[in-house]
């Protein structure tokens, strides 16, 4: 269990991070879930509303066809590479079907979930390019949502960035003749 004392000029709050690795993983899986696990309900709601709201708004603007991944080498085929997904991935389970579908397609297996987030046919993708700015805004929204979740994951893992100082480590009693050492957590 890790505790972090979040100090601010106006208040000082003790944050129980519980298991930071579990919290970080849950925060990636569903934005806000890691904070819910830590009992930080307000922050959980804020992250879930902001990140998932942004992600699904972008997803709808992009007509459900802008979150996709291809297992290709970007050095060999940069045209077909999907750099947006590198950001979208961090939105967690909301973007995970695209990775599953791409993996299935890569190994020549049929897609799952009725083709949800699977790569659409080329004519559909070309049609999207002609729709213009809303598709681009959808890509930006979903990618930024994923990148924002990185901040939330870090907050779940390590506590708030400003004024977060670990609680004092109990000083071990020293025996006679032994050097006194005080461990200070960084």
């Amino acid at each position: 269990m890790a505790d972090v004392s979040a100090a601010s000029p106006t208040s000082r709050t003790i944050v129980d991070l519980r298991n930071p690795y579990v919290a970080g993983f849950l925060a990636w899986l569903v934005p806000g879930l890691g904070h819910l696990y830590q009992g930080r309900r307000g922050k959980a709601a804020l992250y879930a509303i902001c990140i998932l709201g942004l992600f699904f708004t972008g997803f709808i603007l992009g007509e459900g066809k802008i979150v996709l991944w291809r297992w290709i080498n970007p050095m060999q085929d940069s045209e077909s590479f999907q750099p947006w997904y590198l950001g979208q991935f961090w939105a967690g389970i909301a973007a995970l079907p695209a990775l599953i579908q791409a993996t299935l397609t890569h190994y020549g297996r049929p897609t799952m979930f009725g083709g949800f987030m699977a790569e659409p046919p080329m004519e559909v993708l070309n049609g999207l390019h002609q729709r213009g700015k809303l598709i681009e805004i959808g890509k930006i929204y979903t990618t930024i949502a994923g990148l924002l979740n990185l901040l939330a994951i870090f907050d779940a893992y390590e506590g708030p960035a400003e004024g977060g100082v670990p609680l004092p480590v109990p000083v071990r009693e020293t025996k006679p003749g032994e050097e006194s050492t005080v461990e200070v957590a960084q």
């Binding site: 601010s8 804020l46 709201g53 805004i137 924002l148 708030p160």
Partner: protein, 62 residues
Amino acid sequence: MSDQIHIYWFVLPLVIAISLVYAASRHESWPMIWRHAGRLSLMILGILIGTTVALLLINTQV
């Protein structure tokens, strides 16, 4: 949809979400989060509007 809503309005939810999440990742106290998010929103919007105005002014001179 873009016929009904001007494309620039899509910046607002993005700026608000970025400000709130960033502020929440830095503070634990809610008054600090709201204050930081408000300040950051205004700063980002100010920079965007300022840049737009500057580019428009330059554009009219060219």
